[in-house]
């Protein structure tokens, strides 16, 4: 009798274990991890999406959408809206795709909000310095003044009904580099969410976008690049935990004229102050925006970097649900109120200031 009981006990146990195996097998089948990395918008993008086959399909759809946005907003694609607008500067308005119109309108709004700290008509200055080209150089003051006369976001004429964009003066040009990646990220997130994706981690050339939380249920842990990593030997200056948020950084460490830096220690970097025509020098080496919309984060990280910590953080503090981090040349970290209690430097080269 006793023996039979033990046997029955083991039989039940085995069945239970088998069922467990089956169930766990099913779960891992439906909740797969889909990874893809690809080049678009002059940078590398990495997608990690969790979910079943429909999540993978949505991931590919989102990637196609990004490539479509690139074809409309690139400064180099021959038939892009941006190239057409720049060619027709001072001549005639150009009919553009709805998404291009939306992004330019948004950029002009941010131009007004920041009093010109972000200006998409910066292109003549960008081309003059050529920081991201093969032959970057420090131009003369006269050259800078000449090109600066062409920089003015108030001279971008938008016609909402006809969906046309017109640059008033010949020689003007727009560059959506500071904002198009953010729009692309928002579109990718929209497509993934519509397909029911509840967990994803996207990286669009350094702009990090998260959907939901990590599959373990904890917030995503996003390290923020140490702007002086070659000095400190550390990859991050802080780590933030986020869900359903985007983390976008700007800084003088990404692209700058290496030859000049080696000789003089001066960093002529790629983020220009549209009011001076020189790389922004507002006392910051890096800054970060954390919020839900990527286009906002993209625009505001440039604005914060150009405005500097006092003016920039004040502007961000006045907006809803947007947090900002500013790192000064003295490696001091300033943040908006919402981050003050929670932010901890991940290496002791940096110091939080209240």
């Amino acid at each position: 009798m006793e023996r039979n009981k033990i046997k029955r006990f083991f039989a039940v146990l085995i069945v239970l274990i088998l069922v467990l195996f089956l169930v766990s097998g099913c779960i891992s089948n439906t909740q797969g991890q889909h990874d893809k990395s690809f080049f678009a918008m002059d940078t590398v993008m990495t997608f990690r999406v969790y979910g079943d086959r429909s999540a993978k399909k949505a991931m590919n759809k989102a990637i196609d959408r990004i490539k479509e946005i690139e074809s409309h907003m690139s400064s180099t694609h021959k038939d892009s809206d941006v190239v057409k607008i720049n060619k027709a500067a001072g001549v005639e308005p150009v009919k553009v795709h709805d998404d291009t119109f939306y992004v330019i309108k948004k950029a002009v709004e941010y131009g007004k909000l920041s009093n010109g700290a972000l200006d998409i008509t910066i292109r003549p200055i960008v081309e003059l310095w050529g920081i991201t080209s093969d032959k970057p150089r420090v131009p003369s003051q006269e050259e800078i003044e000449e090109k600066l006369a062409l920089v003015d976001y108030n001279k971008v004429v938008l016609d909402e009904d006809k969906k046309t964009v017109f640059l008033e003066n010949e020689g003007m040009g727009i560059d959506l580099g500071a904002i198009a990646k953010g729009f692309a990220a928002d579109e990718a997130v929209r497509i993934l969410r519509e397909a029911g994706v509840e967990s994803a981690l996207l990286n669009l050339g350094g702009n990090v976008i998260t959907i939901g939380s990590n599959p373990d249920g904890r917030p995503w842990r996003i390290g923020i690049q140490d702007p002086r990593t070659e000095e400190t030997g550390q990859p991050h200056f802080t780590i933030v935990g986020v869900t359903d948020a985007t983390v976008v950084s700007s800084g003088d460490y990404e692209r700058y004229i290496e030859e000049v830096y080696e000789k003089t220690g001066e960093r002529y970097h790629h983020i220009f102050d549209p009011r001076t025509g020189y790389p922004a020098q507002a006392g910051l080496i890096a800054c970060t925006i954390i919020t839900s919309s990527s286009i906002d984060a993209d625009a505001l990280s440039t604005i914060l970097f150009v405005m500097g910590r006092e003016e920039g953080l004040k502007l961000i503090e006045g907006l809803d649900n947007i947090e900002g981090i500013a790192v000064t040349t003295d490696k001091e970290i300033y943040t908006t109120e919402g981050l003050k209690a929670s932010l901890i430097p991940s290496n002791d080269n940096y110091r939080i200031v209240d």
């Binding site: 046997k7 083991f10 085995i14 274990i17 893809k36 990395s37 690809f38 080049f39 002059d42 940078t43 590398v44 991201t132 093969d134 981690l201 990286n203 350094g206 702009n207 990090v208 990590n214 995503w220 842990r221 996003i222 390290g223 923020i224 690049q225 990593t229 070659e230 990859p235 991050h236 780590i239 983390v247 976008v248 950084s249 990404e254 692209r255 290496e258 970060t288 991940s346």
Partner: protein, 133 residues
């Protein structure tokens, strides 16, 4: 007392389960220690190399990656980490990129569409899912 077939089956099954769980532990353990250097060209993984362990300190392993039309990058792996030691791309940003050593970190050569990525589980407490830069 003579053991019955059913009993033997149960014993064998339990032994197999114990064995399997050890195997599981072992593979999980080795994943932790062995980081992989993954080399991708235009989004496709073209090479995957184990990161060097401590006993190979001081040595440098170099992998030449031909990215087409005479273009190349040389990926260097040492106990210090991974870097691009040489390349004939126009901007040389990959060569100037800092050494990477943690999972999730990567070096990118945009003109050659090359990504060098470290894959695996981090052993550090402050491991991150991704880096905003």
């Amino acid at each position: 007392m003579k053991p019955k077939i059913g009993d033997i089956f149960v014993y064998v099954f339990i032994l197999v389960l114990i064995g399997l769980s050890f195997l599981g532990l072992k593979t999980m353990g080795s994943n932790r220690n062995n980081l992989l250097v993954q080399i991708e060209l235009d989004g496709e993984v073209i090479d995957s190399v184990e990161m060097w362990q401590e006993e190979q300190e001081g040595e440098l392993k170099e992998i030449r990656v031909d990215t087409g039309q005479g273009r190349y990058n040389i990926v260097g792996i040492s106990s210090q980490g991974v870097s691009v030691t040489e390349a004939n791309c126009p901007d040389k940003l990959c060569v100037r990129s800092p050494v990477i050593r943690e999972p999730g970190q990567s070096i990118v050569c945009i003109p050659h569409k090359l990504v060098v990525r470290i894959i695996g589980e981090s052993q550090r407490d402050n491991a991150v899912d991704d880096t905003a830069s």
